[in-house]
Amino acid sequence: MSSPDKSMALTGQPPKALSLPQRLATLIGFLGLAILFLAAFGINFPNKGLWMSLSTILLFAGIIWYTALSYGQKTKGIKNDGVWFKSISSMGFWGWIAGIAITSFYIILYFFPEFLGLVRDGKNTGVIALFDPLSRALSGNPASQWFVYGTLYTVAILAFGIKFIWKYRHNRYEIIRTISVMFFQTAFAFIIPEIMARLNGSIPYYDLKNIWPLNYYNFERYRINGFISSGDIGLALLIFGVLSVFVISPILTYRYGKRWYCSWVCGCGGLAETAGDAFRQLSDKTVRAWKIERWVVHSVVVFVTLMTTAVIYSYLGNDTSKYWLTKSSFLTGVTVLLTLVFGWAMLFKRKQLQKDAQYGAIGYFVVILVLIALHQFSGEGNIFLFKSETLRKSYGFLIGSIFSGVIGTGFYPIFGNRVWCRFGCPMAAILGFQQKLFSRFRITTNGGQCISCGNCSTYCEMGIDVRAYAQKGENIVRSSCVGCGICSAVCPRGVLKLENGPLKGRIEANQVLLGNDVDLMDLVNRN
């Protein structure tokens, strides 16, 4: 029973080695990185703006030339040839090297920015100083480690975005979607906040598309104060922040599924879809991974909800005559809102919830209620069981830095490109909850055309076993689906289509049309 499959011992060498031009293209890209490295190690470049531009240009040129060599000569279509033979994209030696390198970068970025040349009260040095001219041109301020990071992040999305578009040039859904993430990163995450900072110094840095709870710090005291003290614009931004959570995102998710955000707008998604595209096949598709995913990501949702509630609670007053929102009315509001949401889900949608999701929802709901009740017996300064500041700091460290940055991006070459989105992002979990229960979006399975080949499952970055549904003729309605459209693109038989349609009959398995006569299909469905 247990003879291993020996076929994977490749006796020969499929064309996985790089050609000479591909090596040159790689070298050019690495020269761009080398400039940054030299700056980080203390080389003081004379004309900083020029060297930074050169570095960026080399990065772009390397990536795009490499892309041209990879896809320029080939006919348009799906060309995943050799993906599992190359060590970088199959968790081989170069995959691990890349993983360790990116992870190290994130650790330095988050915890030791002084190694990059950050000087808090004085002139920057090192690689951060290299970015000073660009930062001054945009916002008027010197660069920070976050500005350097933001610039490189944007360069990565743009350059690898071009690669992605080239690779999928036969697929207009992918082209338009990628242009969208490239635009939102460049405009909303990179340029607009810097310009806003230049126009009005007291407005907190605000990436408008970065919505709570992904933007877990949006409602912290210093930001609220910043918004309120910046006049009408600030107030408008604050209101927009609240509306985007409670109005805009539910409406868009109802109409289009969570893809409107996760694979069209979001910056994390943007990087995953472009720079991370080469690693999408590495996500774990086992049922076990799915179980872990549901527990971890929903725990993060509870964590961020508690933390945000605690933080807002901590700076509200008790006196209604001073400000309409007080500690107790705020808590009551949160409780009522959560009760309404869970009550609605349990009452009307319990059939669509998986068994353990039901347990989970009930469990978490009880936990929150208990904690709030506990609050009644806890003293000032303590929130629930913890100090709100402790809660916020540990969230920022564990989730904001370690999970989303170090693991989420650093581990692209090991766990796939959506580790953060799948296991950690509370925003994705909330949108997913709605996508599963109340959205027009689904992936339609085309009757009986599935041949169970497994391309869809293999290339699903969220680790969804798409084939498991498709081969039964069932539509795919999964909360984690970000709507990247790659399952549909790689399907060799035209079986999958992402679309928005009526809620009725969206999930029901008895839509199946596997090819037998109608009576038999009735029998199959009944059992």
Binding site: M1, G12, Q13, S452, P492
Partner: protein, 448 residues
């Protein structure tokens, strides 16, 4: 407890096993000589191409079989005794069954060519064939050229596979145009062009005469009936498949080319059934062939037989014909019947449209006298199975299909649509004034 033994762990046998488990508590054993676990045969090509690893083409996790109490046995069935209801695996291991399902699939055709058993000559059907290909043609240093013989679906897939490793390919096709026994001429012609676009030396109307051997018993060249000798290191023989039923020769179960079955998929012996590629209908159903070596029909027979085995005896009654394939970059789907120019009857008329630049085309077949829509072949445009199935049920006219073609479009969102161009061409050819109906979700999803 009743013991059901299934020989063969392909799509037919596994589908039967899964559905029997859904319906009953019977003991189920699947015997396979090929692999431990079920895999998608149609996806073998992607393993060689590096799109997937072998583990990815297994549709169920290995724990699935235990969990569903389906016993898996690895071994070759050498003898079946319908009288005593026993079978032998290998040289001695004996199993007894209450019901037996034969689902042993196909094996590649060989037509007695001189040299067809040399080293470096192979078909592409089984997991073992894939392993063999990996050693025969790992790269273009060891395999400097490959010659493929047989212009069907497996042949073109083998060509695509080898090209991903930059191995030069010569493709010998007996017919005057690729797969023109199945595809209408316009489509077949387009695929010819596409094959050549992929730098394949396509030789139409050319037959294999013999395969020449080197001093070590390896193929070194092929000779064609055009008098050419082509040096090569691999000869891919892909002229179709034939039922894999030799082991039943002395069993007393009645055989034709395959295992002969009636509409209930019952063989000549009680409690023994045959499904999938190896089953041969005594009388062909509808316009289908008596032996259908297609993924989908294997699955459908498995579903049907599970009902019969679980005390709900029903005939195999496939719905409207459908199929699909992919020729390099071009996806192909078909719904209903569209016959090739060679095989179609007088009463079947075709409307053909092809895009002026892109490799996109459709052919609609319809009845001459009442203009009833019979079927569609579509290349480079995905179409919705459900909509065509409905139109075929409703016996719609070709004009109706043309007007509402947008409802059937299944391409990803934002794709260019071609319905207007197709209809313009139709109107011009037929002298009609049909207007295209806008795509309606109400009609697509059948909302009242």
């Amino acid at each position: 407890m009743e013991h059901i033994i299934i020989i063969g762990n392909g799509i037919a046998g596994v589908t039967a096993a899964r559905h029997i488990r859904k319906l009953s508590d019977k003991r189920i054993t699947i015997i396979s000589a090929e692999t431990d676990y079920f895999f998608s045969r149609t996806a073998l090509m992607y393993v060689y191409m590096g799109h997937m690893k072998f583990e990815h083409i297994k549709p169920y996790e290995d724990s699935f079989w235990d969990k569903n109490r389906i016993d898996l046995v690895r071994g070759y069935v050498t003898r079946v005794d319908p009288e005593k209801k026993t079978l032998t695996v290998g040289s001695s291991k004996e199993f007894s069954f209450d019901k037996l399902i034969i689902a042993t699939g196909s094996k590649p055709n060989k037509f007695g060519w001189p040299g067809e058993d040399l080293e470096g000559v192979q078909g592409l059907y089984s997991k073992q064939d894939l392993d063999l290909l990996e050693s025969n043609a790992p790269n273009n240093q060891i395999c400097k050229r490959a010659v493929i013989v047989g212009g069907g679906l497996i042949g073109i897939e083998l060509a695509e596979m080898l090209r991903t490793r930059n191995i030069p390919v010569t493709f010998l096709v007996r017919e005057k145009s690729f797969w023109d026994g199945v595809l209408p001429d316009g489509e077949s012609q387009m695929i010819n062009e596409h094959i050549r676009e992929h730098h394949i030396d396509l030789r139409l109307g050319t037959n294999l005469v013999e395969i020449l051997s080197d001093d070590h018993g390896r193929a070194k060249a092929v000779v064609t009936d055009k008098g050419d000798t082509i040096a090569c290191n691999l000869v891919g023989l892909t002229p179709g498949v034939t039922p894999n039923v030799e082991f039943l020769k002395d069993s007393g179960i009645e055989l034709g080319r395959g295992v002969l079955v009636n509409r209930y998929l019952e063989t000549s012996r009680p409690d023994i059934y045959a499904i999938g590629d190896c089953a041969e209908q005594r009388r062909a159903i509808d316009r289908r062939r008596p032996i259908e070596a297609v993924w989908y029909t294997g699955r459908m027979m498995g579903e049907t037989l599970a009902q019969t085995i679980c005390n709900n005896r029903i005939p195999y009654n496939p719905g409207h014909w459908f199929n699909s394939a992919k020729f390099f970059d071009i996806e192909y789907q078909t719904y209903g019947w569209v016959f090739s120019n060679r095989n179609k009857s007088e009463d079947e008329l075709h409307f053909h449209w092809r895009h002026t630049q892109e490799k996109v085309c459709v052919t609609l077949a319809y009845q001459r006298d009442n203009r009833q829509f019979l079927g569609i072949n579509t290349f480079g445009i995905r179409m919705r199975h459900e909509v065509f199935d409905r139109w075929l049920n409703e016996k719609r006219s070709v004009e109706h299909v043309m007007e509402y073609l947008a409802d059937a479009n299944f391409d990803p969102e934002f794709y260019k649509t071609y319905e207007k161009q197709i209809l313009d061409h139709f109107n011009k050819q037929m002298g009609t004034q049909l207007k295209p109906a806008k795509r309606s979700l109400k009609r697509v999803f059948q909302l009242s």
